[in-house]
């Protein structure tokens, strides 16, 4: 056997490499920098600088590779504008997320536990807190996760996809466990997320293995050319299991069970990052898989997509309606959004390739903004310091009167989630639904819009609470908005983006259209 050392076109990989290297450097920093305060600053600056650099690199590559895309690593990685668009989104979300990670309140506390290894409520924890320790690992973890997601959105090989999947999942499992307050919940969320995540990625992997058996390759571009028709059932089963793994990450019913628990338990900045980025990465991979492979099996898989989409919008909506916790409500809303996203896949319209990045952009920005707001609404401790986040719905009563800007932003994000025109969410829904209708999937769209009318109810419930309800005078603990510079900045930036994308989306849609192409699969025949 001879091995050809694969030729690698490094340039298109620069954005991913930069991010992953920064992650590695960050880990080293953790090991060697002892001064916590300094370490935190350095980690933050490193992360943000790297991400911004990656952003530029992506733009540079966008221009450089042109409309067709380039082969980077044999069948493993091809890079096209579709991939770059997703990478761009992911980096944007990462910037938002990392900024929120760094956000600290007036008492200098961020969202993370000072020391993850000590038991909640133990004397050790008090000591750690007193010493001013901080889990600055969050930054390199976030960088690694981002890098993994960027890879996930770009690779063309199912097994490589698995590696990327684990690369971004493992840091997230840890991040979820790091909450400063309500640590038991945080750990519980992490455990559940981890176990179910591992479970689903095992299914994913097994599916990939079956595909390998059926087609003798795991490269998406080669699959259709190489598979042996007699083994179609095997291939279909394998692909289905792969899709299930992706649906898990997207958070679609019935693979959504981790979503509410993880969203609620995780520190809000992590939830924000996770909600925006994971979904985008998973949708990117599903889109790639769909338009390279699955479209051939549209007849069989449409049923699955329809079922899952309908189940997601319905269950996501009705469950969100009965929630009493803001974060949990948004979690179920994200399940419903998973359904809306899947509507775009119905019939595999080519329009979806440009619609999906746009949709995820609108969804992700609004999500980041919403969680940025959530981090600022706090219960007050008896001595007046900011305590845990006030996530019970009732605690938001009357917020609109006391903090019109914040409440206004939150309303804007909620309206965007609900898909009200002149917000980004509407344009996103429009283009996704358009893709589905183009393929004649209008009944699915009708179900989706009916559900989103019902969904408006729970988004509005929060608006009603904020604006139309007076805060109870004797609320205990008292709830107050403790605006933080970064948190407010992120929320405002997100608000501006939501409005701009809602009112004047032409530019962004143009880019999305340009991103709506996949490097066409080379026809590979024979064994």
């Amino acid at each position: 056997m001879t091995y050809n050392v694969p030729e690698i076109a490094w340039a298109p990989l620069v954005p991913i490499i930069v991010v992953l290297v920064a992650g590695a450097v960050g880990v080293l920093l953790e090991a060697f920098m002892r001064n916590v305060a300094l370490r935190r600053v350095v980690q933050l600056q490193l992360s943000v600088a790297t991400l911004v650099l990656a952003l530029f690199a992506i733009v540079w590559q966008w221009v450089a590779i042109g409309g067709d895309g380039v082969v980077v690593l044999r069948s493993m990685i091809y890079l096209d504008r579709q991939a770059l668009a997703w990478q761009f989104l992911l980096v944007v979300f990462a910037i938002g997320g990392v900024l929120l990670f760094a956000d600290r309140n007036r008492e200098g506390e961020d969202a993370f536990t000072p020391l993850a290894s000590v038991a909640p409520g133990s004397p050790d924890e008090t000591v750690a807190r007193a010493k001013g320790l901080a889990v600055t690992e969050a930054f390199p973890l976030a960088m690694l996760a981002t890098g993994g997601m960027m890879l996930f959105a770009s690779v063309n090989d199912l097994l490589f996809l698995f590696v990327a999947l684990e690369l971004f999942s493992l840091p997230l499992y840890i991040l979820v466990a790091l909450s400063r307050r309500r640590r038991l919940l945080s750990q519980e969320a992490s455990l559940k997320y981890f176990l179910l995540g591992a479970f689903s990625s095992a299914i994913f992997l097994f599916g990939a293995a079956l595909v390998y058996g059926a087609a003798e390759t795991t490269g998406m571009r080669e699959l259709l050319g190489l598979y042996v028709p007699e083994r179609q059932t095997l291939l279909l089963l394998g692909l289905f299991m792969v899709v299930v793994g992706l649906l898990f990450k997207i958070g679609a019913v019935p693979f959504h069970f981790w979503v509410p628990d993880a969203y609620q338990g995780a520190p809000s900045p992590v939830t924000a990052f996770m909600a925006a980025a994971t979904k985008a990465a998973a949708v990117a991979a599903l889109a790639r898989l769909s338009y390279l492979v699955l479209f051939r099996f549209a007849w069989e898989l449409d049923w699955v997509i329809w079922t899952v989409a309908i189940a997601s919008v319905i269950f996501g909506t009705v469950l969100a309606i009965v929630q009493t916790d803001v974060k949990r409500m948004l979690a179920y809303s994200s399940v419903a959004h998973a359904g809306f996203i899947l509507v775009g896949f119905a019939g595999f319209s080519p329009l979806a390739l440009s619609a999906l990045p746009f949709y995820l952009l609108t969804y992700g920005v609004a999500t980041l903004g919403a969680f940025a707001v959530i981090t600022q609404v706090r219960e007050l401790t008896p001595d007046g310091a900011a305590g845990a986040e006030a996530t019970r719905l009732g605690q938001w009563a009357g917020l609109g009167k006391r903090h019109p800007v914040l409440a206004g932003l939150m309303s804007l994000f909620l309206l965007s989630f609900a898909g009200i025109p002149l917000t980004a969410g509407f344009v996103g829904k429009f283009v996704v639904f358009r893709a589905a209708v183009e393929q004649g999937a209008w009944p699915l769209v009708v179900v989706a819009v009916l559900a989103s009318a019902a969904a408006a109810f729970f988004y509005l419930r929060l608006v009603v609470l904020m604006y139309f309800t007076d805060a109870p005078d004797d609320a205990s603990p008292r709830v107050e908005v403790r605006p933080t510079g970064i948190g407010r900045g992120v929320a405002i930036a997100a608000g501006v983006i939501v409005l701009v994308l809602g009112v004047l989306p032409a530019g962004a849609l143009n880019l999305a259209d340009e991103a709506g192409v996949l490097l066409s699969p080379p026809v590979v025949t024979g064994g």
Binding site: I174, L184, Q187, E188, A189, F194, L195, A198, A202, T218
Partner: protein, 99 residues
């Protein structure tokens, strides 16, 4: 012995792994079930690789092993953190997040 039998074996292992996750209350045991599923996949890869005659499958198996190892690290870390906090590694006990 035909390599296809290994595929069947892998399928059985995968099912056993899945059943372990579903049935065992002990977090470590459930976690082991996941590992078993991963390894079943690995076995499948290798078996198919053998059937096909390529080596990609075998190479990928190594990747999977590495990933699985990383997963063990993260998983055990989380389980240990939970057990420290709760003095228990039952999967059913931490169920405050629900509904």
């Amino acid at each position: 012995m035909s390599p296809v039998n290994f595929v069947y074996l892998a399928a059985v292992l995968f099912a056993i792994g899945a059943a372990t996750v579903l049935l065992r209350r002990n977090a470590i045991m459930a976690f082991m079930g996941v590992e078993l599923m991963l390894n079943a996949a690995n076995l499948t890869l290798v078996a198919f690789s053998r059937m096909v005659g390529g080596i990609e499958g075998q190479i990928m198996a190594f990747f999977v092993m590495v990933v699985a190892a990383a997963e063990v690290v993260v998983g055990l870390a989380i389980i240990i953190a939970v057990s420290r906090a709760r003095q228990s590694i039952s999967l059913d006990e931490p169920s405050e997040l629900k509904g």
